[in-house]
């Protein structure tokens, strides 16, 4: 049985752990609010751009001469996966679930004899994927949006992808990230970025049904301009969702940890008191039996 002093020390250490986790929870909560706000604020731009693109795509025919970002290379051989995780840990299953999803997708692609390339955004995902697929990781982005995520961060990533695309180093590009569904639910999602996923015809018509649009200078040129920006926007949205999800996951994880620490303290205190009582009883018995012996 541990001594009284050991109990006291353990209680003190769990208490200070609880202090840390509850502070982290509060920090995560306030960061979450900011991240959520930012994600909401970026919505109109993304929606508008998607509308515009859908309208535009509905008007042109996609063939082999279409821009790379729209039609891909026409092949399906090399897949580029962009895996978005966090830079920091202590956020529950947040990174684990995305890595699991990435692994499943990679295995599936490898089984079909496709070539896979990986770009990691965030240190945690890289650390895990490196163990198994080190040769497939082409690049890692770290410390994106350390203070505050900006559109420039997303552009940095999209520029890298476009450079790779320009050299025809992949055919299909997916982004894997935790979609922020609610504070308690982040859904690992895989979205195809290239070739551009063409919305259903009806949806496109609905968006364009109000009017017949003029395009200036012309459809192709706007498309050339619009597609790279759309890529940045999609990545920006994925980054924002992931950032909000990370804080939400951390908040939940730290809330649980705080509660567990509380339970642990209660249990330890109970045992401490019991040990103390036993100690006192023992001492009394010793004194009494000592007195009786005289």
């Amino acid at each position: 049985m541990p001594s009284l002093k050991e109990y006291r020390n353990r209680i003190a250490s769990v208490k200070s752990t609880r202090k840390i986790t509850s502070a982290m929870k509060m920090v995560a909560a306030s960061k979450l609010r900011r991240a959520q706000h930012q994600a909401e604020a970026s919505q109109p731009y993304a929606t508008k751009m998607f509308d515009m693109l859908s309208r535009l795509v509905a008007r042109i025919n996609i063939d082999t001469t279409s821009p790379f970002l729209l039609a891909g290379t026409g092949n399906q051989d090399t897949h580029l996966l962009i895996v978005i995780t966090s830079d920091r840990g202590l956020c529950g299953g947040f990174n684990g679930s995305i890595v699991r999803k990435a692994r499943a997708q990679i295995r599936e692609l490898l089984d079909e004899d496709k070539e896979v390339k990986i770009i990691c955004v965030g240190r945690k995902g890289r650390d895990v994927l490196k163990r198994e697929y080190a040769s497939k990781i082409v690049h890692t982005f770290e410390g994106l949006g350390k203070k505050r995520l900006t559109f420039a961060d997303a552009m940095e990533v999209s520029r890298f992808i476009m450079d790779m695309g320009g050299r025809r180093e992949f055919d299909v590009c997916h982004v894997l990230f935790n979609r922020f569904k609610s504070v308690i639910a982040q859904v690992p999602t895989s979205t195809q970025l290239i070739p551009f996923y063409v919305p259903e015809k009806e949806a496109a018509e609905e968006a364009g049904v109000h009017a017949v649009y003029d395009f200036e200078p012309d459809e192709d040129e706007i498309l050339q301009d619009l597609l790279p920006r759309n890529l940045s926007v999609q990545i920006f949205r994925a980054l924002l969702d992931s950032a909000a999800g990370e804080q939400a996951a951390r908040m939940t994880a730290m809330d649980n940890a705080t509660r567990n620490a509380g339970d642990m303290i209660n249990k330890l205190t109970l045992r401490y008191n019991r040990a103390r009582q036993a100690y006192i009883t023992k001492e009394l018995i010793e004194i009494i039996s000592g007195a009786e012996a005289v």
Binding site: Y45, K48, R55, L56, D214, E216
Partner: protein
Amino acid sequence: MAAPLSSKTFKFELVAPERILASEDVAMVTVPGSAGEFGVLADHAPVVSSMRPGVIEVQDPSGEIKRIFVSGGFADVTGELCTVLAEEAVNVNDIDRSAVEKKLEELRGQLAEAADDVAKAALARDIAIAEAKLAAVA
């Protein structure tokens, strides 16, 4: 301060990736389209245009004109709504002339040293933006 050409107003929205910068009722908007500047009044024919770096002039119903610099983007015009998507947008009055001049000089220096074509193209684009910005203040 000229009186607005039309008394009818429409909605003008300036949207950046990170947030909505402006959303107001206006009388007229002049957009620096890549195929040439064009004015938008209420009930304009629907048009989508890309923009070159330049100045958007927004005239509110009282005739007051606000000038906003954009680094490029897109304008989506329907009869009752004019949406401008821009990555960078600043009020012309807020542009710091000397800072832009310094930046321009820096960029030109970098261009002279740049080796590969991709970097050159990116720098050339940045220079065009900086030049347009300077022209906007002048």
